[in-house]
Symmetry: C2
Subunit: 429 residues, 2 copies
């Protein structure tokens, strides 16, 4: 491990506090990957008097320039938002030879071209588009072998939530907006999201990366969702479409940049992206269609991208000809669970005689072996054997095997025709 | 630009020929990003006598070791497949200080631990899992701020195609397999895919990255799809599930690795991944659920990931304290299309009087301005005004505006109530 790198965090709001939380939670692994300690020396805040519970020994300041100028600071993390003073602070840090990590879409959309041309290696902005979804690095590095002529994005969670609610619940724009505000998904003044302006900033950044050319907000045709009527979502559904606020970058003989509500065919992968989820859909001439889906905002998701950039900055700072690499395997080998200890719900289909009491016999065999039943479909179709189908609650494979052995032995059971796992692994459900 | 880096391509089959095609197609941009010329000096093939149309001046050899040993070769691309001689060739190249790029899941699943611990910076394997989808680098770099406890993948296109067809067309496993073979999505001997073994190799690699620990094939509980009956897919649908061949890596107090057909709730993002498409679903403790979707196999998609790794290897080889960076903007600013020149289908809703002939008047106004109609919904509901809803074929905004002006002027039209774009941007449709 080499000596500590100094970090200044400009902003301790939603994203900044997420960064501190992640650094605290995963410090050991993050520093291993970063090649050495990361020392948050400064946290620049708007008000020094506001009580805070910041899990760090950093010095608080309300003068972010003081933090940027500290020669002990090697990486500046800008998560204040807004165009100024953020742009000036970022540029000052870059001019001093520091690395900058930012989540600021306004700065990158408006000044990214100039800053990246002057400092191509030291400005990191994965968090500026689509929060926790890795999209900047995939576009910039993983898809280098492709010509990209199209990027479609759902890059504003607020509007996607509103449109999903209007579509699913048949409520008006105003009602859905009120719901979004109550759920914390929309600001008190939602203009920036609703108008499409937030999505337009992100589109400028995506287009810059995909088409390797500079664009500005003035190039984007923007329409918001404030005028949308629920009845149009219903008609759209009749035609086989879903309405989404899309950010579209397309390159033919000219480039087209637009943000507007659009009808998407229901089979389109983006049409299935609901709620506050974001997604970016890209077509490469080699890869074909690709989609990246996940949380587009929020404290921890956005901070996840900020910290990934911080690690990359640290690795570059510490590299001497070769980037340092933390150990690939950080721990001993964990225990691997043998199949018979695994637990999951199961789908089971039995071929049985068509007679009253069969269900009870099978259910009782399940019960004796601690396998509990969630649902059942029973079909009498006149000619035997008939199907009796179960979904169980989570059960141990060992218990299930014993239950199946007992059930197989029942005279009323012809066959255990199917045994499949049910996998609900989503949202820790 | 520095001097050329020597490249040896071991294998000129599906993936190898894709690599050569991409290098030819995008040579200028790829070399700019790689910091200088890339010179494919050797192509190792199985048979020298087989006629080939290789777009390169490289020397052909049937002795891959000869290519690996050439001191002018700095990067070895292994796309032969199979465990041996691939593993030996990869290890020989690494031991000589060369970078290796491989698409070989068998080598990485079986020997990746040993090779990556010995040569952590010089072995690149983005193409070994999920073909053209960036997943290795996102797991390894972009998600470093997360603890990952779950990875779910649809990582075998053959079986996903078969299951999709069984589900959608209600055909048997055997019929769907025959279809897949006819479409080129399944091998003549499909055992490796059908048995789940291909997915198991990929799962070992995903688990190694997600859990930062070594695993082997023996740790994976594997069940294939050969025993699946269509009737179970139908019952699963009745319960609200879809059947997929899932690769599951989950970490609780022990790690669980399994590949098997599983019932997924229809709302799960993975349940919507159909046909040969692959997807990897990850949950980070900071990001929440993320999904990466795209082509999991094929010549150009897999080659896309190989070439991205080649560029990364070249950048590392050329870096002296700092990685070289190609120019961010490679070209002049392209023309940006003004909104009135944009072309797309539109959804239009008019409020009109409920009287015969209204549709004809509007349709004729469209026709006069070169806007052609794709479909229409007309509703008479007794009390005026009523909705008349159109979807147009692609139309120029300027023409549409003129048509709308004419339509607005019609005495039978109360209002142009909605005007939305239709976006079908998928598969260049």
């Amino acid at each position: 491990m080499s000596q500590a790198l100094g970090v200044a965090l400009l902003g301790a709001g939603t994203v900044g506090s997420g960064v501190l939380r992640i650094l605290e939670r995963h410090r050991e692994r993050i520093e291993a990957r970063a090649g050495g300690p990361l020392d948050v020396r400064w946290i620049a805040v708007r008000s020094l008097t506001k009580p805070r519970d910041l899990p760090t020994n950093a010095r608080l300041t309300d003068d972010p320039l003081e933090a940027v100028h500290d020669p002990g600071v090697h990486v500046v993390i800008e998560v204040m938002g807004g165009e100024e003073p953020a742009t000036h602070l970022i540029e000052t840090a870059l001019a001093q030879g520091k690395h900058v990590v930012t989540a600021n879409k306004v700065v990158i959309a408006r000044s990214g071209q100039r800053l990246l041309e002057a400092y191509p290696d030291r400005l990191h902005y994965e968090a500026s588009v689509a929060g926790g979804i890795p999209i900047i690095k995939p576009l910039q590095e993983c898809l280098i072998a492709n010509r990209l002529d199209q990027v479609l994005g759902i890059v504003n969670g607020t509007t996607n939530y509103i449109l999903s609610r209007m579509d699913q619940a048949g409520i008006s724009f105003g009602e859905a907006l009120a719901e979004a505000q109550a759920a914390g998904y929309a600001e008190a003044d939602p203009t920036y999201d609703i108008s499409g302006l937030d999505a337009a900033h992100k589109l400028v950044i995506l287009a810059m990366l995909a088409f390797e050319a500079p664009f500005s907000l003035a190039d984007v045709h923007v329409e918001g969702i404030g005028q949308l009527e629920t009845t149009d979502l219903a008609y759209a559904r009749e035609f086989g479409y879903t309405v989404k606020l899309l950010a579209v970058a397309r390159r033919e003989e000219a480039v087209e940049l637009r943000v507007h509500p659009a009808l998407l065919p229901r089979e389109h992968p983006l049409a299935k992206v609901d709620g506050v989820t974001n997604a970016v859909f890209v077509e490469g001439d080699a890869t074909g269609p690709l989609m990246f889906t996940g949380a587009g905002a929020g404290s921890l998701p956005t901070a996840s991208s900020v910290v990934a950039d911080l690690v990359e900055a640290a690795r570059r700072l510490r590299s001497q000809g070769q980037e340092p690499n933390g150990p690939l395997f950080r721990q001993g080998r964990p225990r691997v669970r043998p199949p018979e200890e695994m637990v999951s719900p199961f789908y089971l289909r039995f071929r049985v005689v068509d007679r009253p009491g069969v269900l009870a016999q099978i259910a009782s065999a399940f019960g004796r072996h601690q396998v509990s039943i969630e649902s059942v479909i029973q079909r009498g179709r006149g000619h035997e054997p008939v199907d009796l189908v179960f979904i169980t609650h989570p059960a141990r494979v060992a218990s299930l095997s014993q239950a199946l052995e007992a059930i197989r032995a029942l005279p009323v059971v012809h066959q255990v025709a199917a045994c499949l796992r049910v996998e609900r692994g989503w949202g820790h459900a």
